[in-house]
Assembly symmetry: C2
Homo-oligomer: 193 residues x 2
DNA sequence: ACCATTGCCTACCAAGTGGTAGAAATAGAG
DNA sequence: CTCTATTTCTACCACTTGGTAGGCAATGGT
């Protein structure tokens, strides 16, 4: 694999799991078994590296969601498909969701940058929801708020694993599956008329 | 006000809003118009300062929730009362919820410490929910999971303000009230039989 | 009057930070 | 082989970090 890609991948993990400020370029270089200056050759500054990570993360996220959307039809089935895909993502690549959360914590300018990348996804979801509401397949309410609520709910359920573990809740695949099932039941009751 | 209390308050805000790593003791001292060494006089290390902040935050949180519980009766009314109280808290003292989230990000040892403080609250909520389910006032499901889901949902709705703003969603008192109402509607449909 | 304690300070330090300058290796093209 | 461009490196640097050592004024008990 290309060095620059290796850097990008590890940086995304580090930024997403440990946070931007807690990750030093020296640490990062050490885990990659290269020197810090090699990182700075491919990405001129730490901030630009973060930007590249965010760009890639959003791309990956978009691809995953598109996939979930394409292989589902309408109404509840599609919501279920998306939730399942996000949970799988949270399991396979927790750093992606972690990075998104970290970015909202860091605020501008990187947040503004990320938001521009995510907005198409949210807009798509919103217009789709409006359609579904019109068709009577989803309970009528404010679609923008619903999308954002769903975002934070799914995000919370998918990323709060560390908290769960600290609380003694196990996090085997089975336990995560149970939580997913509960969330789906919850969403179904609340969303479907 | 006592110097040590001023430090504690500012530190909670800084840790909760900007994050632990992004907050230097020098910065903190500067905003308090004292010297860093005065901070280290009252709190022997940065980590101990964080611990003190967490302890105080959990106390404040407990007080607020107890209040919400005491002035409500049972079933839906109590849930509504708690959600409203948390939203008020997120509005008046966003740093409290921010600090909690930051702590789950930092992981052990501080997370373990915080969890010990919060567990009584969660246990209380869980046993209460079990009662309510028995009495048929709340839809039957896994109470532990329900508590944690509710936690992350409310937390998300209450703290994702920065994201909302970046997305162009206004965050006037009225808008927050609308989001609160939507969340309550959502919870009511999902929880009440 | 004495002295110990409290509270805040100045002065300093070792370790680490992101970043610069420029030398050495590597490799493909003519 | 030689020239050139790409990549990685060593050697630094200015600055910030959390933390130590110790001084100095105020306070209050004896």
């Amino acid at each position: 694999m290309e060095t620059s890609d290796r850097i990008l991948k590890r940086a995304t993990v580090a930024f997403g799991e440990s946070g931007y400020d807690a990750t030093s370029l020296d640490d990062l270089a050490r885990t990659l078994d290269i020197r810090k200056q090699s990182i700075l050759y491919h990405y001129a500054s730490k901030e630009l590296l973060l930007e590249a990570c965010v760009r890639q993360a959003i791309t990956d996220l978009s691809v995953a969601l598109d996939e979930a959307i394409r292989k589902s039809s309408y109404g509840w089935e599609r919501i279920e498909s998306i939730v399942k895909r996000v949970f799988r993502l949270a399991n396979n690549r927790p750093e992606l969701l972690g990075l998104l959360r970290e970015v909202t914590r860091l605020g501008p300018p990187i947040l503004t940058y990320a938001v521009d990348g995510i907005r198409p996804l949210l807009d798509g979801a919103t217009t789709w929801l409006i359609e579904e509401m019109k068709a009577g397949r989803v309970r009528k309410s404010e679609p923008e708020l619903l999308v954002l609520s769903a975002y934070s709910t799914i995000m919370g359920a998918a990323t709060e694993v560390k908290l769960f573990e600290a609380l003694g809740e196990e996090s085997t695949i089975r336990d995560v599956a149970i939580r997913r099932k509960e969330l789906l039941r919850f969403l179904k009751i609340a969303l479907i008329p």
